[in-house]
Symmetry: C2
Subunit: 227 residues, 2 copies
C-alpha cells in the first residue's frame, strides 16, 4: 500500500485553488494535468468527466425540448434538465474541492514537528486532510451515480438523433464515478478512523457496483436504438 | 436506426471551428456541451477524455522521472512520456476535426437541390461529410487504444503514489475509445459505400474489444497496488 501521497510535500502546489482550473482553457487544463505537479490530478479529472456526463445529458434534453413529435416527453425532459444542470454545477465545484483537500494535506505536512505537541497537532491536521481527501471523491462518486440515473431517463425518452451523445454521457458519468472511487481507495487506508474509512470504502464499492450495472444497461438502450 | 443527424440543418453552428473549443475555458466548454447546439457533442467529449487519459499517463511519467528508487525505469518512463505527449496532441487536434466533420455535413445539407444535377452533387457532398464523420471518430478510437497501451507501461513502472492517476488515465482512455465508437455506429449506417462502412464498424468493434480487456487488466494492476 502506498503512503498517502507523501510526495505532495516534495512539490510546490502550482495552482491557487481549483476555481482557476475550470476557468483555465481546456488546453491549459490538459497541460497542468500532464505536468509533474500534484494538482490537478485524477480527482479533478474524475469531477470533470462527471460534469461532461451531466452536460451531455443536458444536451439531449435541450435538443429534445420543443422538438416535433416529442411533445409527450417534454415535461420529463425539463425535469431531467433541471437535475442535470444542478448536478453539473456541483461536479464543476468539486474540482476546486478536490484541489483544496490536496492542499490541506500539503499544508499539514509543512506544520512544525519540533515538540511532542507539534507532532500531535501535525498528525491531527494530516488526518483531517486525509479525511477531506476521502470525503470529496466519495461525494463525487455519489453525484456521478446521479448522472448515470439521469442519463437513463434522457436516453429512454430523448430525441433519437442525439442518442449517441446520451451514450457518451453515461460512459463519462460512470468513468467519473470509478475514477473518484480510486481516489477513495488510495486515501482511505491511511486514515486512523478505521470505522469511517471502512464505511467510505464500502459505500464507494456499492456505488461502483450500481454504476457498472446501470451504465451498461443504459449503454445497451443507446446501442439498440442506433441499430 | 436514426437518420444521420439530419437535425444539424435545423440549427446554426455556433462555433467557428473546433480549435476554439480547446482554447475556451473548461467552464465554457461544459456550457457549450450542455447546450442544444450540435457542436461540441459526444465526439468532442470523446477526444477530450482520450486527451485527459494521455495527460494522466504523462503525469505519472513526469512524477516518476528523477524520483529516487526509480532510476531503473527512467528510460522507459521517458519513452512512454514522449509517446503520450504525441498522442495527447493528436487527440486535442481531433476536437477540431470532429467539429469540422459535422460542419461539412451541415454545409452539404444547405446545398441547392433544384435540379437533378444539384441533387446528385448534394447527395455526394453529404456522403463525403458522413465518411469524414465516420473516419474521424474511428481515428480517435485508434489513438485512444494507444492511450490504453501506454497506461499499462506507466502503471506497471510508475511511482507508486501516483498510481491512482494512472488508473484514472486508463479509464479515461477507454471511455474515449468507447465514446468514439458510438459516433462511428451512429454515422456508418447511412453511408452508401457499404464496404467502407462495414470495415469501419468491424475495426472499431475490434478496438472496443481490445480496450475493454486491456483497460480492465491495467485497472487490476492499479487496484492491486493500492492494496
Amino acid at each position: 500500500m502506498p503512503s498517502p501521497r507523501r510526495w505532495w510535500v516534495e512539490l510546490e502546489s502550482k495552482l491557487n485553488g481549483g476555481i482557476m482550473v475550470i476557468q483555465a482553457t481546456v488546453e491549459k487544463f490538459l497541460d497542468e494535468l500532464a505536468s509533474g505537479h500534484p494538482t490537478p490530478g485524477g480527482g479533478s479529472a474524475a469531477a470533470i468527466m462527471g460534469a461532461m456526463g451531466a452536460a451531455l445529458v443536458s444536451m439531449v434534453c435541450n435538443v429534445t425540448i420543443g422538438k416535433k413529435g416529442y411533445e409527450a416527453v417534454e415535461g420529463e425532459m425539463r425535469a431531467v434538465l433541471e437535475e442535470s444542470e444542478k448536478v453539473r454545477r456541483r461536479l464543476s465545484a468539486m474540482v476546486a474541492e478536490d484541489i483544496a483537500a490536496f492542499d490541506s494535506i500539503l499544508a499539514a505536512y509543512k506544520l512544525p514537528k519540533a515538540t511532542d505537541d507539534d507532532k500531535s497537532r501535525r498528525a491531527e491536521a494530516i488526518q483531517a486532510g486525509l479525511r477531506r481527501a476521502t470525503e470529496t471523491p466519495l461525494d463525487c462518486a455519489r453525484v456521478c451515480a446521479e448522472v448515470i440515473a439521469l442519463s437513463r431517463r434522457a436516453s429512454e425518452h430523448g430525441y433519437l438523433n442525439v442518442i449517441s451523445d446520451g451514450g457518451v454521457g453515461v460512459l463519462a458519468g460512470f468513468t467519473g464515478l470509478r475514477s473518484a472511487a480510486l481516489n477513495v481507495y488510495i486515501n482511505a487506508p491511511a486514515l486512523k478512523d478505521r470505522a469511517f474509512a471502512e464505511r467510505a470504502a464500502a459505500e464507494v464499492g456499492k456505488l461502483v457496483a450500481y454504476g457498472a450495472a446501470e451504465s451498461e444497461a443504459v449503454y445497451k438502450i443507446v446501442r439498440d436504438k442506433l441499430g
